[in-house]
Symmetry: C2
Subunit: 439 residues, 2 copies
């Protein structure tokens, strides 16, 4: 995990490359280290990777949609040609219907207008674009705690400060958000606060859902604290369609009366196929142009072919049944992980874990004295002794203390996405063996 | 073409969004205005769009490759799963063979190692990534004059300064590059110079190719002027495979003895399908990590599915014959445009145009007193009176004068990519009518 202003060439006769300040900020990212561990230790069973269930990938569905699309010569040529920066209108129209239906909104609701959609390379690109257009170095993003560690890297990359807001099983605490804004006002930094970020459904990594009353409260706070400029709420809904039990909360998108405060990020990576890399944003009208201008510089449009392929999936009625099969597969794996947790951890004192109603992750907490980080004895033990891997919880926290590091060190994110139930059981058994060895 | 620090919401009760400095820099981009003109004036024949020939799109080739890929269940699942940030190894290996063969290099040449490749969303994303990791605000990029206007927008977006270097039919002039570096040294700005950018083959918009001796000279200058830090040369080879006559120059990639100075950008948008949006970079070893870290924040990988699809196109031997058919189609259209230029413009005094051996553009110069810009009488006349559209040449020049605007105003980029020969002839006829009306 180098973080140098210059990097040395192999040929010592060449002077070093001098890289940008932004690159130096960005280079703190941890995901490369995690992937490297996986590659160098192929025998570990990984509960770290955020990949999806390989058995549920839409092989036959994609084949059907492709054949339908390519049978229409004009459509085939449209799909193989350049698209537009904001994305194929055919898919945007399908998304209006899909979101209207899913969220109980009217398809004519202006908050779901096709002009509010931007189609991106996964929802990750939407998160990055929002950060690019909103944040100057030193600006502030208030984040759930814990939250999606890759977005914390994005904030680093633009020089923004992530400030954690206390979060529990019902999501971000409105009282904590309110008092943090009060504090920032007191120190004269309110004008630097641009965004509240949270994964509204089955937060990555904790599995927490923001409860309905807290959604209302968070939105009300964002509206009330929009003073000189607007304070946006970025609702990362990547896992919203992966609910296995219980009833969904209302989306923040639907709660925002004027459609001016909520940026909604969605993706088909989890519910359909990450290899197609189709994500989207529903963006307040006046922010949409800014996001598209920035995207114009980055790539002037994500793959048009994939957008048309997915539009065909919707048109042919193939999406709903596929998502249902994905949910069925993950429900079994979520249950396998929770059963294994009961089996192997219930007699280890001080170990707790969440029972998520959806998403891909179980969040496990160890006694405070057992550290889980990359440099910890436990991480080393799981990778090199028992043969499994997890995501250390500490990388999912923003530090509340700019002069130190007050991040909790005793959590783990355990993903049930990739492994089959037997693999999940074996990995959990190995993890328990390692945890016992730490005591 | 708004360029405001804040943008007003529709709902007057909401305060405005406060956007980043980088967004304000980026928002000077012109491509949106051009596209809007096209949408609002559907009856114009556009020689402006950079789209490719619709008739040459690989409908049957894509079908064959898709069927081969999806017939292998393991490969199908790999393609539909997440890939890696730097891109599918299967395609990178095919690219090593392809470039080795095309450039007369050994496939074992370390300058073509798979670890030097990064697969991107079109080559546009590679250009943007390089700008992100190299430039701090105020840093300098030396560019051909004229050059690719979208890259000038990318430089604006990171706050970099584009300084034009005199360019003629043989490409960027080494003597002018040398003297600009001398001048920058004299004013104490040599440490801000990070990159030389040029489209080495059939420069967009001029159609110029950088001659072999100038390639050697530009590279030698970059090496010699690498003092405290390295000066890179970004060889944008987007059009390299679209040569219709004559023999290719040696690539800068192949001329760079240590592989430390040249960044080579390529794409399959022009030679195969822009809808797949697969581009790539061959990047000096020590810059590769930086580019991938940045890409990790932006999207952690372009569409894996498309990379595997294209790898299959190569494996099945389908790429070469397709590119041959693309070249045949464009040769006819290039000739149609040159014939039309002779027919309609040869008796208009002071009008000149290039005869490109490849690429997609004919660069036409009018008498200096006839302005071609978006606000010009000519542009208005072509869009609203005769019914055609071109790209004004002035947006393809960096301004050499930071306090003014010394960009030439009498050029046009005319694309023969989209229209068929009859459409090209008609558009050229209309353009000539408009030009005559200006005299």
């Amino acid at each position: 995990m180098t973080n140098k202003a210059t990097i040395e060439p192999r040929d010592p006769s060449s002077p070093p490359a001098k890289l940008s300040q932004r690159w130096r900020w960005a280079s703190k990212g941890m995901i490369g280290f995690l992937m490297q561990q996986g590659v160098e230790n192929p025998d570990v069973i990984s509960l770290a990777a955020g990949l999806v269930d390989p058995g549920s990938l839409p092989v036959s569905t994609t084949r059907s949609a492709f054949q339908a699309m390519m049978a229409d010569d004009a459509l085939a040529r449209t799909a193989l040609q350049y698209g537009t920066t904001s994305g194929a209108m055919r898919l945007r129209k399908q998304l209006v219907s899909h979101l209207a239906n899913r969220e109980g909104m009217s398809p004519d609701d202006p908050r779901l207008g096709t002009d509010r959609f931007v189609l991106t390379t996964g929802s990750q690109q939407l998160l990055s674009l929002v950060a690019e257009v909103l944040f100057d170095p030193g600006d502030i993003c208030l984040v759930a705690s814990p939250t999606y560690f890759v977005f914390l890297g994005v904030l680093d990359g633009v020089g923004a400060r992530a400030i954690p807001v206390a979060t529990d099983e019902n999501g971000m605490q409105p009282a904590a958000l309110e008092s943090e804004l009060q504090r920032l006002k007191g120190v004269g930094e309110l004008d630097r606060v641009k965004l509240v970020y949270l994964v509204s459904d089955f937060e990555n990594p904790s599995g927490y859902c923001l409860s309905d009353d807290r959604r209302q409260a968070v939105l009300e706070i964002a509206r009330r604290w929009s003073r000189e400029h607007r304070l946006f709420v970025l609702e990362d809904a990547a896992y919203r369609e992966l609910r296995y039990d219980g009833s969904p909360q209302t989306s923040l998108l639907n709660m925002d009366p004027d459609g001016e405060h909520v940026i909604h990020a969605g993706t088909f990576s989890k519910s359909f196929s990450p290899g197609l890399r189709v994500g989207f944003g529903v963006v307040p009208a006046d922010l949409h142009q800014a996001v598209c201008v920035r995207k114009g510089n980055e790539d002037f449009g994500s793959a048009n072919f994939n957008q048309h392929l997915l539009a065909t999936v919707f048109e042919q009625g193939l999406y709903g049944p596929h998502v249902e099969s994905v949910r069925d597969a993950y429900r079994v794996k979520r249950d396998a992980m929770l059963t294994a947790a009961d089996r192997y951890f219930s007699d280890i004192p001080g170990v707790h874990w969440m029972h998520p109603e959806g998403g891909l992750y179980v969040w496990m907490s160890l006694p405070e004295e057992i550290a889980t980080g990359f440099d910890s004895e436990l991480f080393h033990h799981t990778v090199h002794e028992t043969g499994m891997m997890y995501v250390p919880g500490e990388i999912c926290f923003a530090s509340g203390d700019p002069n130190g590091d007050d991040r909790p060190t005793n959590h783990m994110r355990l993903s049930f996405g990739v492994q089959d139930p037997a693999g999940i059981d074996e990995a959990m058994k190995r993890l328990a063996t390692s945890v016992r060895a730490m005591r």
